[in-house]
Symmetry: C2
Subunit: 174 residues, 2 copies
């Protein structure tokens, strides 16, 4: 059983931060444009499963609506909470998780959150990375990556500049 | 007297690092292509003055040849050494430095080195930033920026993808 395809789809500042120190992503608003989602829905619709870190999960819970209805959601945490939207909690090995997801029919996993992206990269489980570079320098904050233990080589698939100044780049992990 | 234009021209990994923890930039070699300098000479020829940090200076000294012949070089350090190639050492205020350089005829300053780039951004002295995104994730290393104290907004001027996978993006600082 082939493991599901795993994709990262994330916005960063030019200097590689995904949030401020306190987790705020208010600076993403500088690229908000009516009717422009920078391809997010098209990407999201191709995925069937989300694997997210605890912080990303807490952010998702803080919104008025649950954005992941219809998707299988795995939250990577050692402190499972109450499943409010059918989400599952998992703290074990990621390769084993991918095997189980494959057996259970997952085809395309959306990996979200800085910590978990690094864990997936470390485990060589990421197939594709799409980064939307926001035209801002933050200087400090939560980094896209934590220590991975090895370089991750990338093959450029596409890059596109938008009127807002956002540059979206997609790579295949090699 | 208008202050000289100040530009940053630097390569980073996708996750915002400009060197490994130990300073090595060996990973830049993945985009080395015969006859392709990614616009560096064209940029460099428009500059008359370099302001560089101590680490960048030490790296420059470690090469067999001095790459900055014909340019005025200011090294930002509290521990001035012997001037081997006419370089000047400076540890004072950056706004005052820019005023002095303007009076002495500088038109376009190339600001190089992670620490000094952040200091220039903090002092609102940077006009243009060109980042060459190398298709690699490092996970750790020397960051493009240190704490700046405020957001730095950018206006996208151009972006260009190369066959090697390098994506070069130029912004105006707003």
């Amino acid at each position: 059983m082939p493991r599901p395809r795993c994709s990262v789809y994330i916005a960063t500042s030019l200097d590689g931060f995904i949030a401020r120190e306190d987790g705020r992503i208010d600076w993403l608003s500088i690229v908000e444009r009516e009717g422009e989602d920078y391809g997010f829905k098209r990407f999201f619709d191709t995925t069937d499963t989300l694997v997210m870190g605890r912080k990303t999960y807490e952010t998702a819970l803080s919104f008025d609506t649950w954005h992941y209805t219809g998707k299988r959601c795995i939250v990577r945490t050692h402190a499972p909470g109450e499943s409010l939207h059918g989400e599952e909690f998992y703290s074990g090995d990621l390769v084993e998780l991918m095997e189980r997801l494959a057996e259970e029919g997952a085809k395309h996993v959306y990996v979200d959150g800085g910590m978990i992206i690094s864990q997936f990269l470390a485990a060589k489980l990421v197939d594709e990375v799409t980064v939307s570079l926001i035209p801002i320098v933050l200087g400090e904050g939560a980094r896209l990556t934590q220590k991975i233990g090895h370089d991750v080589g990338l093959e450029l698939l596409s890059s596109k500049a938008f009127e807002s100044g956002l540059v979206q780049i997609t790579y295949r992990v090699v």
